[in-house]
C-alpha cells in the first residue's frame, strides 16, 4: 500500500512541495502573513528538518506552532529563544549568515528570474499599485535557493518581461553566483500546476515536474515565456499520508494553507469562518 495520500488539495500539494525544499539545518525567516510558508516550515520542522532555525517576527528560533488566523503571531513569538528586532535580523541573517529559502509571492515573474511586486503598467501612472517588495529586492539574490510560489499559474503572472523589476536573482548559474560571492542554488517556481526551475542565465526555465493530473501542455499554455520541456517530465511527488495528517490534525487544523489559493472574493468569508471556529475553541 502506498504511503502517498490520495485525498489532498492543490494547496496542500504546493505546501508539501515547499516543505520539501526545506533542508535540515536551513535558516529561514517568517514575517508577512504567508500561511503557506508558515505551514511549510512547521511541517518541515516536525518531519524531516527538525533542526531548522526560523525567525518568526521578532522571535529567534521559534518553536513549531499550530497555525491559526487570530493568534499566529503570538504563537510564533511565544516559543522563541531570543528577541531580535528587524534591524538585527537583516544585518545578522539576511546580510550575515544568509537565509536559505523564503517562498516569495509576486504579481509577476519572468523568464530572467525577475519579480515584480510593485506596479502593473507604467511606474508613474500604474494600473495596479502593488504592495512593494519589502526586502525582496535585496535578498532574493542572496537566498541559497530562490523560491517563488504562484497559486495561480497563468500568462498574466508568468510573463516574458515583468513591468517593473522589484527584485531579481541577479546572478543565476552557480559559477556566476560563486564569482559574485553568493551561495550557489537554483531558481524554483512552485505553482498550482507545476515546478519550474532555472539554473543558467542563458537557458530557459524548464519543467521540473508537473502536479498529478496536470498535463505538460497545460503548463506550457499557461506560461507567458518559453519553457524547456524534458522528454520525460516527472510527476510532482504527492504528499504522504502522514504529511496530510499532520497538516490537518496538528499544524493547520483550520485549513489556513488554502488561503492563498482562494480568489479575492472568497478570502474574507473564508477567514471569517476560520475566526468563528477559533473563537469558539477558546471557550468563554
Amino acid at each position: 500500500m502506498s504511503d502517498y495520500a490520495e485525498d489532498y488539495s492543490t494547496a496542500e500539494l504546493v505546501c508539501v512541495a515547499v516543505a520539501r525544499e526545506v533542508e535540515d539545518g536551513d535558516v529561514l525567516i517568517l514575517g508577512s502573513f504567508t500561511p503557506l510558508a508558515f505551514v511549510s516550515y512547521v511541517l518541515a520542522k516536525v518531519t524531516h528538518a527538525p533542526n531548522i532555525m526560523y525567525m518568526a517576527y521578532s522571535s529567534v528560533d521559534a518553536r513549531p506552532f499550530r497555525l491559526t488566523f487570530g493568534s499566529y503571531e503570538a504563537a510564533a513569538t511565544a516559543g522563541g529563544v531570543a528577541r531580535w528586532n528587524m534591524t538585527e535580523c537583516i544585518n545578522s541573517l539576511y546580510l550575515g549568515i544568509g537565509v536559505d529559502v523564503e517562498p516569495i509571492s509576486s504579481i509577476q515573474a519572468d523568464q530572467y528570474g525577475n519579480i515584480n511586486i510593485s506596479v502593473v503598467g507604467d511606474y508613474a501612472k500604474p494600473v495596479l499599485r502593488g504592495p512593494g517588495g519589502a526586502g525582496a529586492p535585496e535578498v532574493v539574490k542572496m537566498h541559497r535557493k530562490m523560491l517563488g510560489y504562484f497559486p495561480n499559474h497563468s500568462r498574466r503572472t508568468l510573463v516574458p518581461r515583468v513591468d517593473f523589476i522589484t527584485g531579481t536573482r541577479w546572478k543565476i548559474s552557480n559559477e556566476e553566483r560563486i564569482k559574485a560571492g553568493l551561495r550557489p542554488g537554483p531558481i524554483k517556481f512552485i505553482t498550482n500546476l507545476a515546478v519550474l526551475r532555472k539554473d543558467e542565465e542563458e537557458k530557459p526555465f524548464r519543467i521540473e515536474s508537473v502536479h498529478p493530473g496536470v498535463s505538460v501542455e497545460d503548463v506550457v499554455n499557461n506560461t507567458g515565456f518559453e519553457l524547456a520541456v524534458p522528454d520525460d517530465v516527472p510527476e510532482t511527488e504527492k504528499p504522504s499520508k502522514e504529511q496530510i495528517r499532520l497538516l490537518r490534525e496538528v499544524i493547520d487544523p483550520y485549513g489556513m494553507v488554502a488561503f492563498d489559493f482562494k480568489s479575492g472574493k472568497e478570502r474574507l468569508p473564508y477567514l471569517r469562518d476560520i475566526l468563528d471556529r477559533e473563537v469558539k475553541a477558546l471557550g468563554s
Binding site: F33, S58, P64, G70, E73, A74, Y123, R129, E138, M142
Partner: protein, 304 residues
C-alpha cells in the same frame, strides 16, 4: 529636540492630544511597527484628529497605519518598501492615492530604509551593503543608492544615506515616565527609528515606575535619552497587534477594508471611529468584551 532636555526631563508623560507640541505640519514622520504589528495607531488617529497635514511619512513595512493617513489626507509624500493589508488585501486608500491621485512617493527597498535609519543613529552619513543590484527601484531613486568601492577588497557595494526624520512615533508594551521603553513582541526597527529621529513619541500599553523596568532590564529596547514624550494608550496599536498583550483585530480589519473601499465610506469610517476620542474608539470597536477576546487570542497559543 534638545538632547540635553531629553536627558534631564524625567517626566515625559503627556496626554495624547499633546502630540501637536512635537509633530508639525510638513514634518517628516517615521512610523514604527511592521506588517500588521505594533503600529502606533492611537498616535496616528490623533494626527488625523488634530488636523496635522502635509506630512512626509516614512515606513518600512506599513499597513493600516499608512492607509489611514493617506485616506485622511495627512500626507504630501510617502517613503515605503511595503504597504500591504496582508490577509485582507491591498491597501485601498494607498492604491487610490497612487493610481488615481498622483500621491508622490519613494519606493525604497526594505533593507536600504533600515540601514538609512541605522546610519543616522550611529553617526555616519552612509552605510554600505550588498544592495539591490538589478532592481528598478534603484533606477527610480538613484539619489538614494550610490555605488561605492570597498577600499580593502575592491568589491562594489551600494551606499545608502542616513535618514533623519523630524519625528518618530512608536508603540510599545510599557515605559517609565522618563521614557525607558520595553518591547516584548514584534519590534520592527523601532529602536533605529528612535535613534534617527529628532523627536520621539512613544505610546505604551502602560506607564510603570522605573523600578518595574529595572526588574527585567533585558526587555528595555529604547532607553530614555531617545524619548521626548510618553503617552499611555492601552490598545494603542489596535487594530494592529501588540504581542504578547493582544493580537491584531481581524474583525475590525475587515470592517476597515469594507469602509475604505470607497472615498465616501472611508469618510464615514473616519467620523465614526477616528474623530471621537480613543475611549470612544475602544467602545465602538466592541468594548471590553471584544478587547478580552483579542487578549485571550494572544495568550492561548498552541506550541507543538
Amino acid at each position: 529636540m534638545n538632547r540635553r532636555d531629553r536627558v534631564i526631563n524625567q517626566n515625559k508623560v503627556a496626554p495624547l492630544s499633546d502630540i501637536t507640541r512635537l509633530i508639525k505640519d510638513g514634518d517628516t514622520v517615521a512610523i514604527g511597527g511592521a506588517w500588521l504589528s505594533s503600529h502606533p495607531m492611537a498616535i496616528i488617529r490623533q494626527i488625523i484628529r488634530s488636523g496635522i497635514k502635509h506630512l512626509y511619512a516614512l515606513t518600512i513595512l506599513g499597513s493600516v497605519d499608512i492607509d489611514i493617513l493617506v485616506g485622511a489626507g495627512c500626507l504630501d509624500r510617502l517613503m515605503f518598501s511595503f504597504v500591504s493589508m496582508e490577509a485582507y488585501g491591498l491597501p485601498p486608500n494607498f492604491r487610490r492615492a497612487i493610481e488615481k491621485e498622483g500621491l508622490k512617493y519613494d519606493e525604497i527597498t526594505g533593507l536600504a530604509i533600515i540601514l538609512g535609519f541605522e546610519a543616522a543613529g550611529r553617526g555616519v552619513p552612509f552605510l554600505p551593503y550588498r544592495g539591490p543590484f538589478g532592481s528598478d527601484c534603484v533606477k527610480e531613486r538613484p539619489e538614494f543608492y550610490k555605488t561605492i568601492k570597498c577600499p580593502f577588497t575592491g568589491e562594489e557595494m551600494i551606499a545608502v544615506p542616513a535618514i533623519k526624520p523630524d519625528v518618530a512615533i512608536i508603540h510599545a508594551q510599557r515605559a517609565d515616565p522618563a521614557g525607558n521603553t520595553q518591547i516584548e513582541g514584534t519590534g520592527g526597527s523601532d529602536l533605529e527609528l528612535a535613534k534617527a529621529a529628532d523627536k520621539v513619541i512613544v505610546s505604551v500599553e502602560e506607564i510603570v515606575p522605573t523600578d518595574v523596568i529595572r526588574q527585567n532590564p533585558y526587555k528595555t529596547k529604547i532607553p530614555r535619552f531617545y524619548v521626548d514624550m510618553v503617552i499611555e494608550a492601552p490598545f494603542g496599536a489596535h487594530p494592529t497587534s501588540s504581542i504578547p498583550s493582544y493580537v491584531g483585530d481581524p474583525w475590525h480589519m475587515m470592517k476597515y477594508m469594507e469602509m475604505a473601499a470607497s472615498p465616501e465610506s472611508f469618510k464615514d469610517y473616519l467620523s465614526e471611529y477616528v474623530m471621537g476620542s480613543e475611549a470612544e474608539y475602544l467602545e465602538k470597536i466592541g468594548g471590553p468584551k471584544h478587547l478580552d477576546v483579542l487578549r485571550k487570542l494572544a495568550r492561548e497559543v498552541k506550541l507543538l
